[in-house]
Symmetry: C2
Subunit: 203 residues, 2 copies
């Protein structure tokens, strides 16, 4: 077969695996299931990727890099602090609303790989605080915001953004929300989070 057909087979494989990995969790998806749903021969998976693990890594890099770039650009931009925080929070939540399972996917990858996680280059685009931390220090030195621990502040920010998505079923159940209402709850967090972060740095 020619190259374009080969690519379309490969793409079909990735697309199918991505869907299954996100919904069921990597460890609960079988390679046969992926192959069947993608309509290809099982061995083709071993032909394109060498193992299920490498298929996962390819998908992980792809998924993260797709989303992380715009976030990194916001964090590294020269926007004024409060505007930057607002833009980061709102953009991040918009991304996650579209793909609510991303958080669980990444967290399970971190837990599974532990120290090896650093080897996944995509992570560097996701958690990269150098310029943001510098900006926070500068603002604090100038007395424009309260003196805070910059790294703690960043961790707090992403905690407020990301964690609720990983317990979405729990929140929905506890507040008796259907899918639509649960989504609304998460969207409303944009304002909640922004205000909480700002209140903690303003005099």
């Amino acid at each position: 077969m020619d190259a374009s057909a080969a690519n379309s087979t490969r793409d079909k494989l990735i697309e199918t695996a991505k869907e299954l990995f996100l919904t069921k969790g990597v460890d609960r998806v079988g390679v046969r299931e992926i192959a069947t749903k993608a309509g290809i021969n099982l061995s083709l998976m071993n032909y394109y990727f060498r193992s299920k693990e490498m298929l996962f890594e390819a998908i992980f890099e792809m998924l993260i890099n797709e989303k992380a770039l715009v976030l990194k650009q916001i964090l590294d931009s020269d926007k004024p602090l409060e505007e930057k925080i607002r833009s980061y929070v709102y953009t991040y939540i918009d991304i996650l609303i579209e793909d609510p399972l991303l958080v669980s996917f990444v967290l399970s990858a971190i837990h599974r790989n532990n120290e090896k996680i650093v080897n996944l280059k995509a992570i560097y685009n996701l958690y990269n605080t150098d310029s943001f931390v510098a900006q926070l220090k500068r603002e604090a030195d100038l007395g424009r915001i309260k003196p805070i621990e910059p790294e703690q502040f960043y961790v707090s920010m992403i905690s407020l953004i990301l964690f609720p998505f990983s317990i979405k079923p729990l929140i929905a159940d506890r507040n008796r929300l259907d899918e639509r209402a649960a989504k609304l709850f998460l969207v409303e967090r944009k304002k909640t989070i922004y205000e909480m972060l700002i209140a903690s740095i303003r005099f």
Copy 2:
């Protein structure tokens, strides 16, 4: 054999499985590995619990109930608001410092079970906001704190507490912290979180 011996075998099984589930993740532990490490016959696992899944459920209930009670008591107590928040944050983090893998364990359980998660009764002791939400409403009505969304506030509070533990390896790597320093970073969050929460409700 007598009851105590039976219990000790059962306990050994639970203890071993708990350790492995926490470190490697439920889906990456084999029943044969558990049996071997516990020094018992594989058939015994099926004798005491009927399946790996039921062994998991037993351990899940045990682990959560062990820790959740004291947290629920704080949340349902009649402490003044700021003192309650302080006590909740500090106690929760103390618990997690001792068992940093608990967060990943629970999150993966939520993700795996999705809607079925509600069936795990232990969850009700972990996320139960009725009296806390009522207290927040009361304080807001009395004009003693800013008007806020109580459910959002609770979700923010647990996000700030829990999420950093689930990305501990990432935080450690990014800030070049060894185990001791990473632990210190998490301990220091007690004060950070408390201050952020209070700043967001005080006038």
